[in-house]
C-alpha cells in the first residue's frame, strides 16, 4: 500500500490524461472509417445521412476481393512454411554451437531487419525482374521471405537455447538415432516456439506493404497493396467501398493478432528478440 501512495503524484495523472487523449483520438480515427463504410452519404455533418451495408458487397465485387484474399493467403502461408523450414534449422545451429564467425552470421541475419524495406526492396525488385520473377507470385513470396527468415532465426534461437541440450544427449545415450531424436524429442518441444514465430510472420507478411508493393504484378497483389492502389486512385470508386475494404483488412488482422496473443506473450517474445539483437552488436 505504501508503494502505491508513494507514486500517486500529479505526474501520474498527466500520464493517464495523455494516454486517454491518444486513445480517444485513435478511437475517433477508427470510428470515422467504420461509420463511413456503412454510410449512404456523409459530408460535413456530425453523422451520416443514412446507414447501409451495401458498400461491403460492392467492395467484394469491385475489387475482386476473393481473388485478392486468395493471393494474400497463398503468399502468407508459403512465406510462413518456407521461413520456418529455413529458419528453424539455422536457429538450432546458432543456439547449439559456438563457432568462429558466429557473430558475422548473426549480423547477416540482423541486417535485413535493421535496413528499411524500401532501401533493399528497390535493388531486390530490380534483381527479381532481371531473373523474370518480378511481378509473379514467387517474386512476392521471395521478397517477403527476406525479413521473415531472419525474424524466425532471431526469435527461435533464444527459444532453442532454453531447451536443455542434455535431453538430446540423454536420448542419444538411450540409443536414439538423429532422426528419432528429431521426431520424438526435439519436434514436440519446438512446436510452441515454431507456432508463435509462424503466427508473427503471418501477421507481418499480411501487413507488409513496401516489399509487396515493389515486387507485385497485377495478379500477385496482396490485400494491403490493393487497398493502397484503390485509395491512391481515389475518385474512381466510392470512398465508402475503400473504407469497407480497409475494415475487412483490419478485422482479418485483428483475428490473426488475437490468435497470436493466445499463443505468445508479446512482451516476452520481444524481450528475447531485443536481447538477441543487443548481444549481436
Amino acid at each position: 500500500m505504501r508503494q502505491r501512495a508513494l507514486v500517486a503524484r500529479p505526474g501520474v495523472w498527466l500520464v493517464w490524461a495523455v494516454m486517454i487523449f491518444f486513445l480517444v483520438n485513435l478511437a475517433g480515427v477508427v470510428a470515422a472509417v467504420v461509420v463511413n463504410s456503412f454510410s449512404t452519404r456523409w459530408f460535413g455533418s456530425w453523422w451520416p445521412a443514412g446507414l447501409t451495408g451495401h458498400h461491403y458487397a460492392d467492395a467484394w465485387k469491385e475489387f475482386a476481393l476473393f481473388d485478392v484474399l486468395k493471393v494474400t493467403l497463398q503468399v502468407s502461408l508459403a512465406v510462413v512454411v518456407i521461413s520456418a523450414l529455413i529458419g528453424v534449422p539455422a536457429a538450432y545451429a546458432l543456439a547449439r554451437r559456438d563457432f568462429p564467425g558466429k557473430r558475422l552470421v548473426t549480423l547477416a541475419f540482423l541486417l535485413p531487419i535493421m535496413v528499411p524495406p524500401i532501401a533493399y526492396g528497390i535493388p531486390l525488385a530490380t534483381v527479381l525482374y532481371k531473373f523474370h520473377l518480378g511481378g509473379t507470385m514467387w517474386g512476392v513470396i521471395l521478397a517477403n521471405l527476406v525479413p521473415s527468415v531472419p525474424f524466425v532465426v532471431l526469435t527461435m534461437t533464444p527459444f532453442i537455447e532454453q531447451i536443455d541440450s542434455k535431453i538430446e544427449a540423454a536420448a542419444r545415450m538411450c540409443g536414439a538415432n538423429t532422426r528419432a531424436i528429431f521426431t520424438t524429442v526435439l519436434l514436440p518441444l519446438l512446436v510452441p516456439g515454431v507456432l508463435a514465430a509462424s503466427i508473427l510472420v503471418l501477421v507481418r507478411t499480411v501487413g507488409m506493404f513496401e516489399l509487396t508493393f515493389l515486387t507485385a504484378g497485377p495478379s500477385s497483389q496482396t490485400l494491403v497493396v490493393t487497398l493502397y492502389y484503390s485509395m491512391s486512385a481515389a475518385g474512381i470508386r466510392a470512398p465508402q467501398a475503400v473504407d469497407a475494404m480497409a475494415v475487412i483488412y483490419t478485422l482479418s488482422m485483428l483475428v490473426l493478432l488475437v490468435i497470436a496473443l493466445r499463443f505468445v506473450n508479446p512482451t516476452q517474445l520481444v524481450t528475447r528478440v531485443g536481447e538477441q539483437r543487443e548481444r549481436a552488436e
Binding site: Q3, L6, V7, R9, V15, M19, F22, N25, G28, V29, V30, A31, A32, V33, W46, G87, P89, A90, L94, R96, R97, F99, P100, F109, P112, M114, P116, I118, A119, G121, I122, P123, L124, T126, V127, L142, V146, V149, V203, F209, E210, L214, V224, L227, Y228, P239, V242, A246, Y249, T250, M253, L257, L261, P266, V270, T271, G274, E275, R277, E278
Partner: protein, 302 residues
C-alpha cells in the same frame, strides 16, 4: 602431425574431432540454407544495387547519380524532410511509452486490457489509418468539429495533407512497437533494486533517474533505433495523408518515383543506398551514445 595420427583413418577422425572442438561439425550444415538465403536475396541484391548506383543511366562518371542527388534541392531536401518526420516520431513514441510502461509495471487494474488496446493499432494498417486521419482530423472531421464547438478555434485547423497528418500516422503505427519493446525491457529490470532504493529513502524521481533509467537506457536506445527504422521508411502514409510532392516528399517517395515511374533503376538504387547510409549513421550515433551509458547486469531475467 604427431606419430599417433600416422594411420589414415584416425587422422581423418582427428581432424573432424579438432574441428568439433572449435564448434564446427555437421550441425552447422543446418545453417547453410539460411545463410545461402540471406546471401542470395539480401546481400547479393544489395551489392547489385550498390553497383548499379555507380552506372548512371544518363552517363557521366560513376558518381554522377550521387552528384545529381546532392545537387538538386528537390532530391537533397528529402533527407532533411524524412529526418524531420522520422526523428520526432521515434522520439515521441519512445518518450511516451516510457511513463506508460513504467506505470504498467506493477499490479495495475485492467493491465491486460490496456496493453491489448495499446497494441491493437498494429492491426490497423496504413490505409485504414490514412483514411481515418483524413476523415477524423480533416476540416469537416469530428476533431475540428469538437474544437469549434468548444470555441477553441474559429476556422478549421489544417491537420491533413501536411506534415502533421503524416506525423500522427507514424505515431499511431509506431507507438505499439515502442510500447511493447519498452515494457519488455522494463520487465527485465529487477524490481528489488528500486525497493532497496526506496528503503534507503529515494523518492520516485530519484529512483527513476538513478536506478531505472540508467538500466533502461540500452533498451531505450534499441527501441529508438527500431522505431526509427519504421518511421524513416515512411512511404504509404506520406503519400496518402501528406503532401507528397512538397512538404512530405520523403526519401522513399523519391526512390520509388525514380525506379517505378521513371524506370531509372540506377537512380532508384542510388537513393536506396543513400537511405541505408543515413539510417546507419543515425543508428551509429544512437548506439555510440548508448555505449557511453552504464552497461551491466539489470539484475532481473534480462
Amino acid at each position: 602431425m604427431t606419430s599417433a595420427l600416422a594411420e589414415a583413418t584416425p587422422e581423418r577422425l582427428a581432424l573432424r574431432h579438432r574441428l568439433a572442438e572449435r564448434g564446427i561439425d555437421r550441425v552447422l550444415l543446418l545453417l547453410l540454407p539460411g545463410v545461402a538465403f540471406v546471401v542470395a536475396l539480401f546481400l547479393y541484391p544489395f551489392l547489385y544495387g550498390l553497383g548499379l548506383s555507380f552506372q548512371p543511366k544518363q552517363g557521366g562518371g560513376p558518381f554522377a547519380n550521387y552528384q545529381r542527388f546532392f545537387a538538386e534541392p528537390y532530391l537533397r531536401d528529402t533527407i532533411w524532410i524524412t529526418l524531420r518526420l522520422g526523428l520526432p516520431a521515434a522520439l515521441i513514441n519512445v518518450l511516451a511509452s516510457v511513463p506508460i510502461a513504467y506505470r504498467m509495471r506493477g499490479p495495475v487494474r485492467g493491465k491486460r486490457l490496456i496493453t491489448t488496446i495499446l497494441v491493437v493499432p498494429i492491426t490497423l494498417g496504413t490505409v485504414l489509418t490514412a483514411e481515418g486521419i483524413i476523415q477524423y482530423f480533416g476540416p469537416a472531421g469530428w476533431f475540428n468539429k469538437v474544437l469549434r464547438a468548444l470555441h477553441l478555434t474559429d476556422g478549421a485547423v489544417p491537420l491533413i495533407q501536411n506534415y502533421w497528418g503524416v506525423l500522427f500516422s507514424l505515431i499511431i503505427s509506431g507507438f505499439p512497437f515502442a510500447f511493447l519493446l519498452t515494457t519488455s525491457y522494463l520487465s527485465g529490470i529487477d524490481p528489488s533494486l528500486e525497493k532497496a532504493a526506496s528503503v534507503l529513502g529515494a523518492g520516485w524521481w530519484q529512483r527513476f533517474r538513478h536506478i531505472t533509467f540508467p538500466l533502461l537506457s540500452p533498451g531505450l536506445a534499441m527501441t529508438f533505433c527500431l522505431t526509427f527504422v519504421l518511421a524513416f521508411s515512411v512511404f504509404p502514409s506520406a503519400i496518402l495523408v501528406g503532401d507528397p510532392s512538397r512538404t512530405t516528399h520523403v526519401i522513399s517517395i523519391a526512390a520509388v518515383h525514380a525506379s517505378n515511374e521513371q524506370y531509372d533503376y540506377s537512380m532508384g538504387s542510388t537513393i536506396a543506398m543513400i537511405m541505408a547510409v543515413v539510417m546507419l549513421i543515425v543508428i551509429a550515433i544512437v548506439l555510440t551514445w548508448r555505449g557511453r551509458m552504464y552497461r551491466g547486469a539489470t539484475g532481473g531475467k534480462g
